[in-house]
């Protein structure tokens, strides 16, 4: 650096000051080191050590974001309230992370004590200074060419335990990465990508185990949820989402259909430490659109399962869509909340806005259905019976079924705010598909859809799919999106914010009664969580398909949201 400054005497001041800063930083580092060593001796856990205890009490440290959904109850609610309705006009961009990839950005980052861990599409991991966006290290995993995810090479994020990050890859691996060094510690094979399996979810750590589920419901897989020892990567248990011969539930399949029956598990589950149960949503049966090839209820497809996290044993299940002909994956995030019952006790509930268009309130101790109603227009069922089973009303061939194949909602993380008592979901309204089932023979690794969704509109009109260009070519003709606030006591809508285009954004709520979400049009907007009024918005220029999250460093609250191929971080000025 000194040599450089003599070679370029025209820039002495810049280089001089850089040099000075550099020296200062070395001193700082030495001091920090001593402080850290002392801290290590005096108190545990040290910064960056995310024990299971800390995961259990994630709500005690709102400055951090320790699991995909922000805590085991998955409500995506932050108790941080520095950003509030009164100062939104000052909200400004703090920094941007631009991905070196054009794949969809669906990940939610983790933040641990000032460090952000983010997956860059597809399967790279970056550690960043959460305050400034500078990169500490980057781990690159190049997925095998065998990987064949149905719907985009996406990854939704990481899990952490102690100082180890866990990454699930689209080519079927689970990789443990040293959170400080950025180097892999172990790598295990969870699934065979050549047979259509993929991992797109953020893993879930419970105790000393890492839990993942497989994607591949469009390829005739037989789904499962696996647990691995966090230290060694050894498999601890496997729960098949389709029961094998002799197991209860197997009778809901005929012939050999169970072997290729799908039932993936491609979004992260939740955990109730008191009941010691982990809850996972299960995907569609296969072939997706041709139920005639798989008569029966097809358990546990389109269900939520409650598992013992130590053994993987099934405690209970609830099926949303028996014998599903519409690809209504029920992988949505199980949102857990408690309310007092009228006998002085607590009702432990699970809230679920399903891809099939219905909202459900379940008792998460038993899986019993408590109440529910449709939150978008539906015509595949006329309602739910007393047990929460849909009264199916299949539409005649050629007629439009609502919701269409992408569902009334999908992977977009919902939020529950204890402050407002409301549940919030991103929905596709009045959006339909014409389902055309077709017999299909299973072939390993080939798509096994059993038909196709056709466009209900003639005349060249487009309907929303997985991707979106800059022009909204379907407009109001093919349905729009909405943020919907549902009162879980009645399952009825409290308010709705309609949008021109459908939305794939997750939702975050805060203790300051704000609701953060985005849409496919590239708007990041902040609403009043009580009323749905728009308080603030910014055009970020790319589709928002991840869940916004919040954290705090040095007493400053940040909001992170990905749009297009970048992640944007907002905060208040000093």
């Amino acid at each position: 650096m000194t040599a450089l400054s003599t070679e370029h005497p025209d820039q002495p001041s810049t280089l001089g000051s850089t040099h000075f800063n550099h020296r200062e930083r070395i001193v700082m580092t030495r001091q920090t080191l001593i402080t850290m060593l002392l801290a290590g001796l005096l108190s545990t856990p040290a910064a960056g050590q995310v024990t299971f205890e800390r995961l259990l009490n994630a709500d005690q440290e709102p400055q951090n974001w320790l699991t995909y959904s922000g805590g085991y109850s998955s409500n995506r609610h932050t108790t941080l309230d520095q950003i509030h309705p009164g100062n939104l006009d000052q909200l400004e961009l703090a920094w941007i992370f631009q991905a070196n990839s054009l794949e969809a950005f669906q990940a939610t980052p983790l933040v641990v004590d000032g460090i952000m861990y983010l997956t860059e599409p597809v399967n790279n991991v970056v550690a960043l200074d959460a305050k400034r966006g500078n990169v500490f290290w980057k781990y690159e995993h190049t997925p095998s060419a065998e990987a064949r995810p149905c719907c985009g090479a996406v990854n939704r994020g990481l899990a952490i335990l102690d100082q180890t990050l866990f990454l699930a890859t689209i080519d079927g691996h689970l990789i443990a990465i040293d959170a400080v060094a950025g180097k892999p510690l172990w790598k295990t094979t969870v699934a065979d990508p050549a047979a259509g399996y993929a991992l797109t979810l953020a893993p879930l750590v419970i105790k000393d185990k890492v839990i993942v589920g497989v994607a591949g419901g469009e390829y005739g897989i037989r789904g499962y949820i696996d647990a691995y020892d966090a230290n060694t990567g050894e498999q601890a248990w496997r729960f098949y989402t389709i029961p094998g011969p002799g197991d209860p539930g197997h009778e809901t399949w005929e012939n050999d259909a169970w072997m290729t029956g799908g039932a993936s598990a491609w979004l992260t589950g939740s955990y109730d430490p008191d009941l010691d149960l982990t809850y996972w949503g299960i995907g569609n049966p296969g072939p997706d659109l041709n139920p005639a090839q798989r008569p029966g209820d097809n358990l546990y497809s389109d269900s939520v399962v409650a598992l013992d996290p130590d053994t993987g044993e099934l405690e209970w299940h609830f099926q949303f869509t028996p014998n599903d002909p519409y690809d209504y994956d029920s992988v949505q995030i199980p949102v857990l909340m408690d309310v007092p019952d009228n006998r002085g006790g607590t009702l432990r509930l699970m809230l679920w806005a399903n891809r099939n268009g219905f909202f459900y309130v379940l008792d998460r101790e038993t899986g019993r259905f408590l109440n529910g109603d449709n939150f978008v227009p539906v015509n595949w069922a006329s309602g739910l019976d007393d047990n929460g089973r849909p009264v199916q009303t299949p539409q005649p061939p050629g007629a439009t079924t609502f919701p269409g194949i992408q569902g009334g909602t999908n992977w977009y993380s919902p939020s529950y705010s204890p402050q407002t008592g409301l549940f919030y979901v991103s929905a596709w309204e009045a959006y339909g598909s014409v389902f055309e089932p077709q017999d299909q023979e299973y072939q390993v690794g080939r798509t096994f859809m059993g038909g196709r969704p056709a466009n209900p509109f003639g005349a060249g009109a487009n309907v929303p799919g997985l991707r979106r260009g800059h022009v909204n070519t379907w407009t109001e003709a093919a349905g729009g999106g909405a943020v919907i606030a549902i009162d879980p006591r009645t399952s009825q809508q409290r308010w709705r914010l309609p949008m021109s285009d459908v939305t794939s954004s997750g939702i975050l709520t805060s203790a300051s009664n704000l609701l953060f979400t985005g849409n496919r049009e590239g708007y990041f907007h902040i609403l009043d969580a009580e009323t749905g009024n728009i308080l603030w918005r910014k055009a970020l220029g790319g589709m928002i398909a991840n869940g916004p999250m919040s954290y705090m460093v040095d007493d400053k609250q940040y909001i992170a949201v990905a749009a297009g191929h970048s992640m944007f971080v907002f905060a208040l000025p000093h």
Partner: protein
Amino acid sequence: MPKHTQFARITHTGPVISVLLTGGIALLILIGNPSRAVGQDHVGQYEQADIEFGVRLYGANCLRCHAETGDAVAGVDLRSGAYNRASSDRELMELLRTGIPGTAMPPNNFSDSELTGLVSYLRTMRDIDLSAVALGDNTRGSVLFTGKGACATCHRVNGLGPRTAPDLSDIGSIRTAATLQRSLLDPTGSMLPINRPVSATLSDGTVINGRRLNEDTYTIQVIDQDERLRSLDKSELRELSALTESPMPPATELLDTEEIADLLAYLLTLKGLE
């Protein structure tokens, strides 16, 4: 917690959807019942723009072997959407890049967006109307376009004519003959929703009429009656409506069957700048 069951609400979009924006401005959008028209053009998974790009690439690179019908190579039916050698979109892209060694199917150095376009088109090919269409004489068609058919009073071709209706300079490479025929016979039934005529009333009462180019929750982009590109903030509008009826008259009003066949032949020669 009360336990109750309610039955499903509305199952169909009504003819009028009235949306109240938070700004307190009523947004009135008139739309027709989503009735199912003859033939379907596109499956939902793929972007309209990608499909159009794909049609173009297909015409330039694939047509000579696979033909418009997609079934000209023995044992290969591109319209079926199910291929022997590729299942996922990724595999299909790989196949188009590498070709099939040892056969006439050539390798090609396509970019990612070209591959996306081709796959979007292949996957939706069977929705695209390929029914036989009578084609006449394109020279006569060209004369009808500017003359008796009065098409040029609204449409622009190769830099000549008004811009308020869609520019047709490359229409022959992004639409099939059957789709074009339907556009001529039934303009309203085949109007793309994004092309709907819109009318916006500003707060001062000024009315802007135009064709919609894009729209989102907060804004709308139009080309107005004076051929200006305008982006309007919905919260500043007194009223906004989109009509489902096309301003274009059916070609049968001015032309007979033979003349329409001539016109179609002409439209198919419009390939844009190569």
